[in-house]
Symmetry: C2
Subunit: 202 residues, 2 copies
DNA sequence: TTCATAAATTAAACATGTTTAATAAAACGT
DNA sequence: ACGTTTTATTAAACATGTTTAATTTATGAA
């Protein structure tokens, strides 16, 4: 890397660290381009140069945490348990994570969900990767004879993902809903689906 | 209604009409609180008084169109066709509708989807009503012996709704995706689900 | 009618995301 | 080494959603 490139990378890091700090300590409302810039000792325009938009900045600041939560949940996935239990292990972890700061993640979801794939490549990549992961789980279950082997595993994975995301939306929309309640309802829906794709006897 | 109440209602109508006109003729980017206020011959602050936020205004301006699209699709629902065909009739109409102005509806979806139920009661009500409708369709199919009658119809309806909404998100995120392509993919997912909830023989 | 109260409306100000035009400095070819 | 070009940075301006405080207007009681 050049001198130029290194200093640019360093500046990016400083801005990102400032954004994380403010988000954590003061919340999303206080996290403005100006406050982040001030904390980083840089001009607001510079924040724009480095992260393009405020959405880009927040996405960059929070994306790692989400990634980490997913990975942690996957790492602790219980072996030798029914598929529903394993899925609920992941979904439960996600709901509890989003529950730690609902307004913050509402903002993130709001500003990223309906962006163009090109405009929020992080999200697209994360979604794709997660779908592929679900798809391998489905294939494992097919191999173990728990799911009809004629099924397209990716389509089944998409269904499971759709259930989760619908529930996430409802969870964020309803502040009264606890992570446990969201997980329980999601379990019901998932259960119905899984029962349907069990192999037929005979 | 009072004189006060009537004039207030009239003002609301004028503002709403102005918003619709600008959205239609100039698009979402040109639809600002100031431009709407100017078109309506009213102050920007007045728009806030009447619609609370810009999101509230846009929601009010577009909500009817969506409602109309749904109702129209439901009214033209083909009788005596398999459930999948009937669902696709609705989904197809919705995708084609959103396709008429993707940026506009992206903005609407973005600003409403993750709001609190309390903050966007319109949306919640629309979602609930549509779920109930899907649920009655499922019950009809159960009565006709096409779906396992032990199923909870509302849960199945939620699944179908989840598939649709996931596909809508993908549709909005990917500008290259045609309404037909979105519908086709959604059909595949729905098909897999429906096959699973057919009554078991014996 | 008259006056006090409540409500509708607005001008001006504010906060914030983003753009523009200018500056300073590194990179690179000669 | 020198001059040109590219690039990181920024100050100032801009556009827009929203708030505030003041003004005008209608309502209802005395």
């Amino acid at each position: 890397m050049n001198r130029r490139e290194t200093t640019k990378a360093e500046t990016s890091e400083i801005i990102l660290a400032s954004a994380k700090k403010i988000l954590l300590e003061n919340g999303i409302v206080k996290c403005t381009m100006r406050s982040v810039a001030a904390e980083a000792g840089v001009s607001p325009a510079s924040v724009v140069v480095h992260f393009k938009t405020k959405t880009g900045l927040i996405e960059a600041a929070l994306h790692e945490d989400i990634e980490h939560t997913i990975m942690h949940a996957i790492a602790g996935l219980p072996e030798d348990r029914p598929l529903l239990d394993r899925l609920m292990h992941i979904w439960g972890a996600m709901f509890r994570f989003y529950d730690t700061n609902r307004n913050l993640y509402r903002e993130l979801l709001r500003s990223t969900t309906f962006e163009t794939d090109a405009d929020s490549p992080h999200i697209k990549e994360q979604m794709d990767r997660f779908l592929r992961f679900l798809s391998t789980i489905v294939r494992d279950e097919q191999a173990a004879g728990n799911i009809d082997s004629r099924l397209e595993s990716l389509v089944a994975a998409e269904s499971l993902g759709a259930f989760y995301f619908m529930m996430l939306i409802r969870f964020i929309r309803d502040p009264e809903m606890t992570p446990a309640a969201a997980a329980a309802h999601l379990a019901k829906i998932t259960q119905q689906f899984l029962a349907g794709i069990e192999p037929q006897l005979g």
